[in-house]
């Protein structure tokens, strides 16, 4: 093995660069040239042919769509990817997954940007004596095969494989095959955000690790305990859709949602009742709730008095909320649902399983399925064990399949040091990241859009993964690598087919590939019997109403954008404003206002967090709705090996944000008490797209006065008593206009946004960015308020302190009929179309910016610089492949804004014309509406009174923002309807 490093002629001689002779220089340059051109020679397979005959169904210049999937943390998201001239440019949800209906999360959609990331690994690298050398698979394969052959006799002893958990059937089959050949090889799985405690809780309650599938369709009462089912949950799309349907005031009985959490989440924002509690308080709360529920069910005396009379539980607001919830749960038994989040310990999950069972919710509002091999697991302990074995010398070779364990392993597990002991360590990764840099070999991993595979959705449906493009560089998938290790020569496609479709015939297989999923492959519900179990009594700190410094709680949150850090080099996601904090390009420790005041912490201040002997300096931010005494820090930031976007120490690119993993020890992966916060006298400017700088007293007053008017919320009770929606409309009785209405065309495009459905998931923002070639501007420009998103989510807080509630309002060009922007443009660069679109003529725009000043919604975006200039840099030509050819790429000096996806309108018209029919309602769907998981955005023709958008416009909840300006927007909103409990605390509504 050690002989390998030296036999390559391209390896430069050691010594300073000045020792190079001219001859040697030319040799090296020649070799590099050869290598560079070799990287373009991956297409030696038979698939690529010049189109002497046009393939069936392929029309040059028109998009093709393929169903595929992408796997994250072992869960597949079913996708439909648009490909233009052979290059994937846009990801949408697979519409055949009816529960999701074509919706797609922001993170999955942004994956297409990763495919063209110039930092994505383009070749193998071997580190020899500290110096990295470029290698090729041709060099790696024979050598690695020999290495495996050498170990075959020992059954693979000394070799370990550290993999990301995967639900892929193909991978499981290959793993079994490999383990057959190498039975003594250690196979360890690590995933920083594994949801093991849910399974452990189920094991405690039922004796088996079952997965719980919520069924909101039948629920009347939903109680979430630190569970963000609309945001962080792997099945959030399906749950969001069901949630929105159950919140529709015209859709039957309306769901009431209760949320108990430390940091406002999407679910907390959507809730009818919300209580801000520290994560550690959930356990005593659930204990008390169970006692109250059981008492109420039995109709008997009060065993719970002792617990209810202690600590925070006797706080009148908490007590009132708890009591109201208990009563409602019992009243709605069989139609209620209690869910805990993955951060909560197994005990909480077990308790909720018990309550759900006692209330008769199992089988009605939730199902249990057996998702994985039923075995007790503690991934952190397994990883620690692996490291110990490496340190002890029992393992001398490690192959890491995906993931980035050097970055995201628990802080007390020093994998990096252990890797230094190994002569052979290889990492298959998308990037040459922290883990790859700590290994002797880096193997480039193929992107999901360029590889074959499969994975299971949360409900168990097997989704196929098919390549949209041949690997752009020498990249391999996990399946290909494993197949190679098992000496299998069959192509990945055949392996996937065998694992997924089994004996299915060609037609069935094609059907599966076309649909992107295997019919009837979802998990089947299993019956579980409740066991008797005891839960430890809560400790004093968990019960405390308030905690002092050094007793504070630190919560490690999965980031809504970067997840565990894997998307850190995705500029779309980095620049996507967090739904709640509106922070982009970084994370910050979130403090409640009262806690910050008590500690002397201010917005943007750098604070030192000390937990369990580890310290980290991070920026602080203050967030209404945050639980006092709890500090939340998102994982996934502070990468030093992500790339030029997310931070790359090698090229002096500073990390984006702060690495929370440095404080995350295996004992407390999710939250931990005993945090000490020390303020410093330094501060940083945080990049955020709203409330920068923090609003002063007069601003707060002005904002609070108008928010209720701009973003209207009424209660279900009010809506029932005012059937014509007077409550919210009365404030602005129609003002007469002095001007005649503009002539109306045959088609009148319009949009309706239902604030009751919008959950603030950000999917529309990324959908628009991908569809419309919206540039990324970077952290400094965001600080200067120059972000370019065509659609944004306005977020307002209502109320103060921990009781503050979050409201969202998607905001994009309203396409006013009497548009203020059009009147003031001196060169007529923004004009009105006959169909009512407010159009922006880029090549007529001079850039006076007057239109944007005059826009009351500030939805116009100006190209202050040439934000596409980086494309001119070397090595970035691959990035050009990303752009949607149907949308102009704007250069500097021009204004731009939402077009209602005019290109989609044109395509729909062409299709309708070719089909010889009229445009029907639903033919045109802008990117934002297409991807919206809750159907909050509806687009259509207002001239057609039966269209969805017309019906919505006539709804009693419909209203126009700033109606008194007489600008007659084509976009209208529907008021949000809250369903607060009449008796619960003031946190409702």
């Amino acid at each position: 093995m050690s002989s390998l490093g030296r036999h390559d002629s391209a390896a430069p001689e050691r010594g300073s660069p000045s020792d190079f002779s001219r001859r040697r220089f030319l040799q090296v340059m020649g070799a590099s040239m050869a290598l560079a051109s070799a990287s373009g020679c991956t297409w030696d397979t038979e698939e690529i042919l010049p189109f002497q005959r046009r393939p069936e169904g392929r029309i040059p210049g028109s998009t093709q769509r393929f169903a595929t999937a992408i796997e994250c943390s072992g869960v597949a998201s079913a996708l439909l990817v648009s490909s233009y001239d052979g290059r994937p440019i846009k990801i949408e949800g697979n519409p055949l997954r009816v529960q999701e209906g074509g919706a797609c999360s922001a993170r999955s959609q942004a994956a297409v940007l990763d495919l063209y990331d110039p930092d994505l690994s383009r070749g193998l690298v071997q580190v020899h004596e500290g110096v990295p050398y470029p290698r090729s698979w041709k060099e790696f394969d024979p050598w690695f095969a020999a290495e495996l052959a050498r170990r075959r006799a020992g059954g693979g002893a000394g070799l370990a494989i550290l993999a990301e958990p995967s639900s892929s059937l193909t991978q499981a089959a290959l793993r079994a095959r490999f383990m057959e050949q190498f039975p003594r090889t250690r196979w360890v799985e690590w995933e920083p955000l594994a949801r093991t405690q849910e399974l452990e809780g189920a094991r405690l309650a039922f004796g088996r690790g079952v997965r719980t599938l919520p069924r909101l369709e039948t629920a009347r009462t939903l109680a979430c305990f630190d569970a963000d089912i609309l945001g962080e949950h792997p099945d959030a799309l399906q749950l969001s859709r069901a949630f929105a349907r159950r919140r529709d005031p015209d859709g039957g009985e309306v769901l009431r949602t209760w949320v108990f959490e430390s940091t406002p989440s999407l679910t907390g924002a959507a809730a009818d009742q919300r209580l801000a509690l520290r994560c550690e308080q959930i356990l005593p709360l659930v204990l008390a709730l169970e006692l109250r529920v059981l008492e109420a069910l039995a109709g008997g005396g009060s065993n719970s008095a002792a617990l209810l009379g202690s600590g925070f539980l006797k706080d009148p607001e908490v007590a009132a909320t708890l009591e109201a919830l208990a009563q409602e749960l019992v009243a709605q038994r069989g139609r209620s649902l209690l869910i805990a989040g993955p951060r909560q310990p197994a005990a909480v999950h077990a308790l909720l399983q018990r309550i759900n069972s006692r209330l008769g919710n199992v089988g009605s509002t939730l199902l249990h399925v057996q998702a994985a091999v039923d075995e007790a697991r503690d991934p952190a302990a397994e990883l620690a064990q692996l490291v110990r074995e490496i340190e002890a010398g029992a393992i001398d070779a490690l192959l890491i399949l995906g993931g980035n364990p050097v970055y995201d392993a628990p802080a007390d597990v020093d994998l990096r040091r252990a890797l230094r002991k190994l002569a052979l360590s290889a990492h298959l990764g998308h990037y040459r990241d922290e883990t790859s840099r700590a290994c002797t070999w880096h193997l480039p991993r193929a992107h999901a859009l360029e590889s074959w595979g499969d994975a299971r959705a949360w409900d168990g449906t097997v989704c196929t993964i098919q390549p949209l493009i041949d690997p752009l560089y020498e990249r391999r998938s996990v399946i290909e690598l494993l197949a190679g290790m098992c000496a299998i020569t069959v192509s990945a496609r055949e392996l996937v087919r065998a694992a997924v479709a089994g004996s299915a015939d060609e037609a069935q297989w094609r059907r599966i590939l076309h649909d992107g999923m295997v019919p009837g492959s979802a998990f089947v519900a299993v019956e579980c019997t409740l066991l008797d179990f005891e839960v430890e009594a809560p400790r004093a700190r968990q019960l405390a109403l308030e905690v002092a410094n050094a007793q504070l709680e630190l919560v490690f949150a999965a980031d809504a954008k970067l997840h565990d850090g894997r998307s850190a080099n995705n500029a779309w996601l980095q620049e996507l404003p967090d739904a709640i904090t509106k922070l982009c390009w970084g994370n910050a420790a979130i403090f409640a206002e009262s806690t910050a005041r008590q500690l002397g912490v201010e917005e943007g201040m750098l604070v030192r967090l000390a937990l369990g002997g580890r310290e980290l300096e991070v920026a602080a931010t203050i967030l209404p709705g945050q639980a006092p005494g709890s500090v939340t820090l998102a994982l996934g930031y502070g990468r030093s090996g992500a790339g030029l976007v997310g931070g790359l120490a090698e090229q002096d690119v500073d990390p984006v944000g702060y690495d929370a993993y440095r404080l995350r020890a295996s004992g407390a992966l999710h939250f931990a008490g005993g945090l000490t916060v020390t303020p410093t006298d330094r501060s940083v400017e945080l990049a955020r797209t709203q409330d920068a700088p923090l609003i002063d007293a007069i601003g707060t007053q002005g904002r609070d006065e108008r928010v209720g008017e701009l973003l209207r919320v009424i209660t279900l009770e009010q809506l029932r008593h005012t059937p014509d929606g007077e409550a919210h409309a009365a404030a602005h009785a129609a003002h007469g206009s002095l001007f005649a209405a503009a002539p109306q065309g045959e088609v009148r495009w319009g949009m309706s946004i239902d604030l009751n459905a919008c959950i603030g998931c950000n999917a529309c923002v990324i959908a628009c960015q991908a569809e419309n070639n919206v540039p990324v501007v970077g952290r400094e420009q965001v600080i200067r308020n120059r972000e370019m998103h065509w659609i944004r989510l306005d977020r307002y807080f209502v109320g103060e302190g921990a009781a503050a509630r979050v409201r969202f309002q998607p905001m994009t060009c309203q396409h006013c009929e009497s548009a203020p922007c059009e009147q003031v443009c001196p060169v007529a660069a923004t004009v009105h179309s006959a169909e009512g679109l407010n159009e922006m003529v880029y090549n007529r725009c001079v850039g006076t910016r007057y239109c944007a000043n005059n826009c009351p919604f500030k939805v116009r975006r100006f190209n202050f610089f040439n934000y596409h200039k980086q494309l001119e840099q070397k090595g970035r030509d691959v990035q050009r492949m990303l752009y949607n050819p149907e949308v102009t790429v704007r250069s500097r000096g021009v204004m731009e804004k939402c077009t209602f996806c005019v290109q989609r309108i044109q395509n729909a018209k062409i299709d309708a014309k070719n089909a010889g029919r009229k445009l029907a309602d639903g033919d045109v769907t802008p990117a934002c509406a297409q991807t919206c998981p809750t159907h909050a955005i509806v687009f259509g023709d207002l001239a057609d009174e039966h269209s969805r958008v017309s019906r919505r416009r006539a709804d009693r909840r419909a209203y126009t923002m700033l109606e008194e300006l007489h600008i007659r927007q084509r976009t209208t909103y529907m008021a949000r309807v809250d369903n607060p409990h009449p008796a619960a605390g003031a946190h409702g509504g």
């Binding site: 002005g702 203020p820 001196p826 944007a852 919604f857 610089f865």
Partner: protein, 473 residues
């Protein structure tokens, strides 16, 4: 020049009510006026202070050029403009310079039509100032657009696309208003210069000077016919320029008033802007004339009475501006439009309150010192007040543009504007350009209208209104 200063000021300039005051001190002969004014231009070398001032201002002009090149090659983003403050110092400075440009034409045209003969000593310099200020003002809207290379699309130039500008846009009205104003001001200024250029030509000792001045004097010989036509044309131009004084800043104010940004959308803007423009213009004239008369020994011609009269105008317009401020607040309350009400509260109490209250002090409080005759008539005190007024008027535009934009309708898009170093350097550079041009003007052209000043001398009275000596004294 120091001997001129010794002339006792009070008895001459502040006359008894029953006695007509003299506008020019020391009763110089007609020839002496010519010699005094032409002397400045004909000196072999200007005073050392001129060189120092020119070195500074021309360096700043170079800085301006550098900034403009940087701006155009990189993008508007080098300035602090952002969303929602799509306009920042660019438009603030544009309006500021247009305002400065008001005094010249006002003095020349309106005071001429009103037969305010005291204008004669200061009108030339004030008109020159107008022109140079218009140069600085015109620069901003040109370079502030995103694509400077197509800025000419704002002009209604016939083209193959048959594409006309949008005549509904106040920015287009601006283009017409400012360009017309610049043209008429330049013509007016040049017209007035012709007899004096002829004087300089006749007195020239070198061939080059004679040739150059002669070329621009357009063959002026001072015949009665010339004078008759000159006077007629001057009157017509004055009549043409007069409405422009009112229209330019009214149109500039439409940029704001016609929009619907709370804090901009106000009907008071046209008169308020015009008063403010005259206010700032006169303050600038005072700021410049006091040192200039000192430097070039023109105290006899530009007397304290002139300065005092200008200070009275400053006091009057300052009061108008103050009244406008209070009216804005009254209407914001009286109109009960919550957005407008907030815009004004936010000015006084929001993040830019410092700018607002400094502005109120400079524009409303500072001019009140001019109620005192002593301050009104002591040159360096009045310069202090005038500089305060200039600062205040700049801040007024800043407050109007920035506070309104940064907090308009939707609180979600509220922001804050911070200028960059490029903003500051560009602004400093326009001052450089302004003073460079002014210093060149002082050096090469008669700063005082020789022919016109002579008409107000007692000596001229003996010969009727416009004696021929007036031209060739």
């Amino acid at each position: 020049m120091a001997d001129d200063l010794r002339t006792p000021a009070a008895p001459v300039t502040i006359g008894e009510p029953y006695q007509r005051e003299l506008l020019i001190e020391g009763d110089p002969s007609l020839g002496a006026v010519t010699r005094r004014v032409c002397g400045v231009v004909e000196r072999p070398k200007p005073p050392r202070a001129w060189y120092v001032a020119f070195a500074i201002s021309s360096s700043l002009t170079l800085l301006l050029m550098g900034m403009v090149v940087y701006l155009i090659s990189t993008g508007v983003g080098v300035w602090g403009n952002n969303s929602p403050a799509f306009w920042g110092w660019d438009i603030v400075n544009f309006v500021f310079w247009v305002g400065i440009a008001h005094a010249g034409t006002l003095i020349s045209a309106i005071l001429f039509l009103l037969r305010q003969t005291w204008r004669t000593s200061i009108n030339r310099a004030a008109e020159a100032m107008t022109l140079f200020a218009v140069c600085c003002a015109g620069l901003y809207p040109t370079i502030h657009v995103g694509r400077v290379w197509v800025a000419y699309w704002l002009f209604p130039i016939p083209n193959q696309m048959q594409m006309w500008p949008n005549f509904r846009s106040p920015l287009l009205w601006d283009v017409f208003a400012v360009s017309t104003y610049a043209t008429v001001s330049a013509l007016f200024w040049y017209m007035g210069l012709v007899p004096d250029l002829a004087t300089l030509r006749d007195r020239a000792t070198s061939k080059l000077r004679r040739g150059l001045y002669g070329f621009f004097a357009l063959g002026w010989r001072g015949s009665a016919k010339h004078w008759q036509r000159f006077e007629r044309a001057y009157l017509i131009l004055a009549a043409l320029a007069t409405p422009l004084v009112l229209s330019v800043h009214s149109v500039v104010s439409f940029d704001f008033a016609v929009s619907q940004v709370p804090g901009w959308h106000t009907t008071i803007f046209p008169p308020y802007f015009v008063a403010g423009a005259i206010f700032s213009g006169f303050a600038m004239v005072v700021t410049i004339m006091v040192p200039a008369r000192e430097l070039f020994g023109l105290k006899q011609l530009v007397t304290l009475r002139h300065l005092e009269n200008m200070n009275k105008v400053i006091l009057a317009t300052g009061c108008m501006v103050g009244f406008a401020y209070s009216t804005e607040f009254f209407i914001a309350w009286y109109g009960q439009n919550s957005f407008e009400g907030f815009a004004f509260l936010n000015r006084a109490r929001g993040p830019y309150a410092w700018a607002y209250w400094t502005m109120v002090f400079c524009n409303v409080v500072a001019p009140q010192f001019f109620w005192s005759k002593r301050i009104r008539t002591s040159p360096w005190l009045m310069v202090g007040v005038a500089i305060l007024v200039n600062v205040g008027m700049w801040l007024e535009r800043f407050v109007i543009v920035v506070t309104s934009l940064t907090r308009d309708y939707l609180p979600s898009s509220w922001g804050y504007f911070k200028p960059t170093a490029v903003d500051v350097c560009t602004f400093a550079g326009t001052f450089g350009l302004f003073f460079t041009l002014f210093l060149l003007f002082c050096r090469f052209l008669p700063m005082v209208a020789i022919a016109e000043v002579k008409t107000v001398l007692p000596a001229s009275k003996a010969h009727g209104e416009h004696g021929e000596e007036a031209a060739h004294g």
